[in-house]
C-alpha cells in the first residue's frame, strides 16, 4: 500500500497543554481523506505540523514514504486556517507570486487555474476587495499551482455559498479522479465531507478516535435489525434456509445483524421462535452517518 502521509505518535503541546496526542494517521495514495472533528479538536494543528509551519513536540511524519520532509513538501498544496492572500495584489498577481516561487515556466498556468476555480473574470480587483468565498477560491487556486500530488485543505469550503460548495466539490473530485491528486480535507461539517470523502479520520480532543473507509462506514451505518439470540449458528442457518438471505453478520455477545426484512421484523421473530431459537431482544438499529460521527466526536455537548 502506498501512503502519501503517515504520522507516528505525532504530538503537539502548547505550553504543556496537549493539543495533539499520539496521532497515527494514514492517508493512502488516491484517498480523499475527510478529517473531521469539533472546533478546537486539533485539525488545523495537525495540518500545520504536516506542512512544517509548526514543529511537533513528539512523534514523526512521513510524506510519500520519505523522511526528507522539506523536499516532499514541494509536492503539497495547502490552505491552512484561512486563505492567505496578498491584499493589495489582484488574483492574477497573487498567483504570479507563487508561480515565481515554484519556478513554473508556463505563464498560462495561472489563467487555467483561475478559470478552474471560477475566478477567470475578476480582473484587476485587489484581493482585499474579494468576498470570503472569492478569497477561498483564490486560496485553492494558489494551492493547486505547481501540480501538487497532495492537497492539505483546512476547511476549504468555509464561506462559500451552496453553489460554490458544489463547484469546489466537483473540482476536487475531478482533480482526484483525473489528476490522481490525494487530498486531506478538514471540516467540522460532515455533510460537506460525506459527498466526497473516500475515508475518514475522526479527531477528538487531539486524539484520533477512528480511521475508517467510506465503505466500512456505510456498512456500519446501514440500517439493520439487531437481534440477540441464544444460538447464533442456528439463527444463521434459519436465515439462510428458511428466509433465503445472506445479508446478515454475527457480532460478539450473540448479536446478529440482519440487513433485510427491515419492515418485516415480525416475520423473522416468528420464524426463529418457530424453530426453537430464543430471541432475547429485537431492535431496529443503525445510526445514520451524522449520529455516528457525533457520537465519535464526543456526543452532543450538554
Amino acid at each position: 500500500m502506498d501512503y502519501v502521509l503517515r504520522t507516528f505518535g505525532l504530538s503537539k503541546a502548547y505550553k504543556k497543554k496537549n493539543v495533539l496526542e499520539n496521532v497515527n494517521i494514514n492517508v493512502r495514495k488516491g484517498d480523499i481523506y475527510g478529517f473531521i472533528g469539533r472546533n478546537g479538536a486539533g485539525k488545523t494543528t495537525l495540518i500545520k505540523l504536516v506542512s512544517g509551519i509548526a514543529a511537533p513536540t513528539g512523534g514523526s511524519i512521513e510524506l510519500f514514504g520519505s523522511n526528507d520532509l522539506n523536499m516532499q513538501r514541494k509536492r503539497i498544496g495547502t490552505i491552512i486556517e484561512y486563505p492567505s492572500v496578498y491584499p493589495n495584489l489582484s488574483a492574477r498577481q497573487n498567483l504570479e507570486v507563487y508561480r515565481r516561487l515554484y519556478g513554473i515556466p508556463d505563464t498560462n498556468a495561472i489563467d487555467n487555474i483561475l478559470d478552474a476555480v471560477g475566478l477567470g473574470d475578476v480582473g484587476k480587483k485587489p484581493a482585499k476587495a474579494f468576498s470570503l468565498g472569492m478569497k477561498q477560491r483564490l486560496g485553492i487556486a494558489a494551492a493547486l499551482l505547481g501540480n501538487p500530488d497532495f492537497l492539505l485543505l483546512d476547511e476549504p469550503t468555509n464561506g462559500l455559498d451552496p453553489e460554490g460548495i458544489t463547484e469546489i466539490r466537483d473540482l476536487l473530485i475531478r482533480l482526484n479522479t483525473e489528476n490522481n491528486i490525494t487530498m486531506l480535507i478538514s471540516s467540522h461539517i460532515l455533510g460537506e465531507l460525506s459527498k466526497i470523502a473516500t475515508c475518514y479520520g475522526i479527531i477528538k480532543d487531539g486524539q484520533l478516535m477512528e480511521e475508517i473507509t467510506a465503505e466500512e462506514l456505510s456498512v456500519r451505518c446501514k440500517r439493520c435489525l439487531k437481534i440477540t439470540v441464544d444460538d447464533t449458528a442456528k439463527t444463521a442457518s434459519i436465515l439462510e434456509n428458511q428466509l433465503h438471505t445472506q445479508n446478515y453478520d454475527i457480532l460478539p455477545e450473540n448479536v446478529v445483524r440482519i440487513f433485510d426484512f427491515l419492515d418485516d421484523a415480525g416475520r423473522i421473530n416468528s420464524e426463529l421462535v418457530k424453530n426453537g431459537v430464543n430471541v432475547k431482544s429485537l431492535t431496529s438499529a443503525g445510526a445514520d452517518l451524522e449520529e455516528y460521527f457525533i457520537e465519535k466526536m464526543g456526543g452532543f455537548k450538554k
Partner: protein, 307 residues
Amino acid sequence: MINMLRSDMYKMFRAVSFRVLLITAAVICVFSAFFVNFSVKTTLEYQEQKRIEAESGETAPKDPIAAAAQDSFMEGMRLGFQSGMEASINASEQQTGQDFLDMEFTYPTVFEGMLDPLYGNSLITMLTAIFTSIFISGEFIHGTIKNSAARGVSRTQLYISKLLTCMAFSVIILAAEMLVLLLTELIIWEPGVFDADKAVKSIIGLLLGMFPYLAFISIFTAIAFCVRSGGATAVNIIFVMFGGLLFQMASSAASLDMTFAWPGTAMNLTAKYYENTWLAAAGVIASIVYIVLSSLIGITVFSRKDI
C-alpha cells in the same frame, strides 16, 4: 532560493509602501538639497554682516519695521537659522579660538553635497525601517508566509530572501535619492560647482556609507522577524530614533568612544572616510559584524518559533 527571491522582488515592486516611500524620499531629498544650499548661503550672508559690523566698529542698526516685514517663510527660517548658528559659532569659536570672520565657507561640490542628506541624518534610514517592517510583518499578518513555508522553503531561505529584498529596496531607494539630489543640485547650485577630485572621493564615500546603511536594514529585518506584527514598524522607528542616544550614553558610561559602532554615526563616518580613515574602517567592520550577527539571531529565532 533564486525562486524565492524572484517572488519576493515581484512583491516588493508591487507593494504600496514601495511607491509611497519612494515619493516621500524624493521630496525629502529635494528639500535637503535646498536646505544645504540655503544654510551655506545664510552662513555666508551672516559672515558678511559680521564683517561689515567689524569694519564699521559698531553694531549695524537694526530696522525693526523692516524685520517685521520680513515675515515670509524663508525669511523666518533664515532668521531662526541665524540665531541657532550664532550660538553654535560662538561655541566653536571658543573651542578653536578661530575667528568666525576668518573661517571659509563654501558650497559643497556636486557629489559631496549628497553625503549629508543621505547619511547625515536618520530620515532615509527611517523610510527603509518602515518598508522593511511592513514588508516582513505583512507576511505574518496576512498569513502568506505559511504558503511559502508549507512548500518546503526552509526558514533560512525565507529569511535571507526577505533580507536581500529589503536590502535591494534600500539600495533602489538610495539610488533614486542620489538621482533626485543630483538633479536638484545641478539645477539650484551655482553653476560650475564641480570638483573632479572631490567627486571621486564623495562617490567612494557614498559607497562606503552603504555598509552601515545595510547594517541598519539587517537589524530591522531581524526585529521584524521577531516582532511579526504591526508593532514591528514602531519598534524599528524607536530603535532608529533612540538607539543612537542609548549608544552614546552607554559609551560615555563605559568612558570609551564607541559611537562609531552605532550604524547611524558610522554612516556619516564612513561616508566621510577621508576625514578619519581609521574611524571609517572601524565603522565598516562594525557594520559587517552587525549584518552577520543580526541575521544569525534573526534566523535562529525564526527557525525555532512556529509560524
